[in-house]
Symmetry: C2
Subunit: 355 residues, 2 copies
């Protein structure tokens, strides 16, 4: 094999990448908040820090997982992928009380496809504008040989700020606190490797309309956006302050794997499966013959966020959340016991005791 005489021949086209970047530059600028200093294209993105007594920075990095493969199979939904990277990151920092300040993205791929790149960026920028966070940096890496042909990884880093005194860590959680479950849209961005293995085995499966999904296709259900709870959550912290003792973003590991992260020693979360998960989970359970435990440790089961609240504030919290467009249910409580999460069989939804 003749070795390539140029970087482009070797598979990395810097000019094409710069052209693509030039086309999305205006879109990126549209996310700029007044705090942004400088412009697109510097070595680092720069944003002014808000005036805080004693500020803390809260940061999270994560990818959207193999939901990208569903978009590739369906030939659509790339805007959702971009949106999801933002929603996931903002949820991760909002649970600790942090207001989003800026966001950075990383796209890794074998070879950049201009339409896919533009659609992912469009979804990301639209989400950044909606949630008031500036997209101040990013990198798009072409790595043929590392990524499979046509594959894409979408990673986001969310950065926010909070007064140190208002940082939410879960240390105030105590027995008697109530668990509120906030409804999810679907799988969000977790469990896709298993979901694809179950639902997308044959070519054409992705476009299959499912009676169980009310006639929607598998792709439509799998490409439902990752819900961003940050605005509602931040308002909750703002309005109810210390009455909200913790929040857990339900991602990989499901309710047990994530809720445990905010529990102090001696606190046990007892969750009653009293809600109706979206039908995509029933489809997965049935077609995949997955047992309850596997389902609960892999998927969010329709609860994308758990908020822990003092019992006397539960009703007010549910009201506030409802006013913000979030459907919240009492799904359990904190008991004294070994630190951990216990999922119990269902029953009808619980009403919050009026405060």
């Amino acid at each position: 094999m003749t070795p390539p005489r140029s970087y482009r021949q070797a598979g990395v086209d810097i000019a094409a990448k710069e052209g693509m970047l030039a086309r999305v530059r205006e879109r990126i600028r549209s996310t700029f908040t007044p705090a942004v200093l400088g412009d697109v294209g510097h070595f680092g993105g720069v944003v002014e820090l808000p005036a805080l007594e004693q500020g803390a920075l809260v940061c999270s990095i994560d990818g959207v997982g193999t939901k990208t493969k569903v978009a590739a199979m369906a030939g659509r939904g790339w805007e959702v992928i971009g949106h999801d990277a933002v929603a996931h990151g903002l949820n991760d920092i909002a649970v600790q009380g942090a207001r989003p300040l800026c966001f950075l993205d990383y796209l890794g791929t074998a070879r950049l496809e201009p339409e896919v790149f533009a659609a992912v960026l469009a979804g990301m920028c639209e989400a950044c504008r909606r949630y008031g966070v500036a997209l101040i940096g990013g990198e798009t890496a072409e790595m043929p040989g590392v990524y499979g042909e046509g594959e894409l990884d979408v990673v986001g880093c969310a950065i926010g700020v909070v007064e140190r005194s208002r940082l939410v860590s879960g240390q105030a959680v105590r027995p008697g606190d109530v668990l509120l479950g906030l409804q999810a849209e679907g799988l969000h961005t977790n469990g896709y490797t298993l979901a694809r293995a179950v639902l997308l085995q044959q070519p054409g499966d992705v476009h299959r309309a499912e009676p169980l999904l009310g006639g929607r296709t598998r792709a439509e259900a799998l490409l439902a956006p990752h819900r961003c709870y940050a605005p509602a959550l931040l308002e909750l912290f703002e309005r109810l302050g210390g009455e909200i003792t913790a929040a857990a973003h339900i991602t990989g590991g499901g309710i047990p794997g994530n809720l445990v992260r905010v529990l102090p020693e001696g606190c046990r979360a007892v969750v009653r499966r009293c809600w109706q998960p979206p039908p995509i989970f029933e489809l997965l359970r049935t077609l995949g013959e997955l047992d309850d435990d596997e389902m609960a440790r892999t998927f969010n089961l329709g609860i994308g966020m758990v908020v822990i609240v003092r019992p006397e504030a539960a009703a007010a919290a549910c009201e506030l959340l409802a006013a913000r467009g979030e459907r919240a249910l009492v799904i359990g409580e904190i008991t004294a016991g070994e630190r951990g999460v216990e999922l119990r069989a269902g029953g009808p939804p619980l009403a919050p005791a009026s405060g």
Copy 2:
């Protein structure tokens, strides 16, 4: 094909991942500066902001590129890969004057290999400790099907702070300013797709000892670490203040592609190729039959950082850099003209005019 009955059977082993994370937890904690609040495993990493009059946050995200493939071929060098992610990120924010505060990593792979994961993390943590930056967050994603078998992408996000009044943007650059080139160790983390195509075509090439490399193997030269200029650069800004008008981290796009990013309108950088690039570049040029232009737009050519300085401060800057272990050369100057970078043929190294 029978669908998998579990997330693990589908290729994602959460328990194995948690086990690996538990083994590196102490190492990650060893990077914690006094500013870190909280511990490993929260949704977001938390770090206290330093007291600043009017602070700005500077952030950069980037990957180490396909240098990972060289490490995979050589069966070693994973610590360097981890180190490089940190060095690259800190260089990117230091050019704007920002002191590093925290770092987050993202590792994407088909299937986690415990030894590789541990070595990358070890290199990353060692670099974080050395440069005084806390590793406060990270994600390791197993995505079989997105990544090729045995492949790994290593991404880092560096976050730093600077007083807004001390932010370095290049706006103060003017004709007459001098360009100092800081010596690189090798390719750093750019141009590996082309370098691999030229140097690693046959199995065994990676271990080939090269007379031109002084008997070192190709792997040894290709796995030289990405030099971290941040400590020296920050001292330069601290000590010489406004005399240092800009700095450019030489990454993808080479000297022309990066130096231009810090030039204001009406400023033209004229670079004289008066330095001796490390021999790996000569090997690449010869074996790859690459022309000068291609070389200059793909590789750093042995200059990892360009610092722009007022002529009267050039000698003092070189001295300070030397005291910090950096070899700096005058490689050109800023002239009045169309905004851009011009590379001219060599000549002997220039001495800085004594200040």
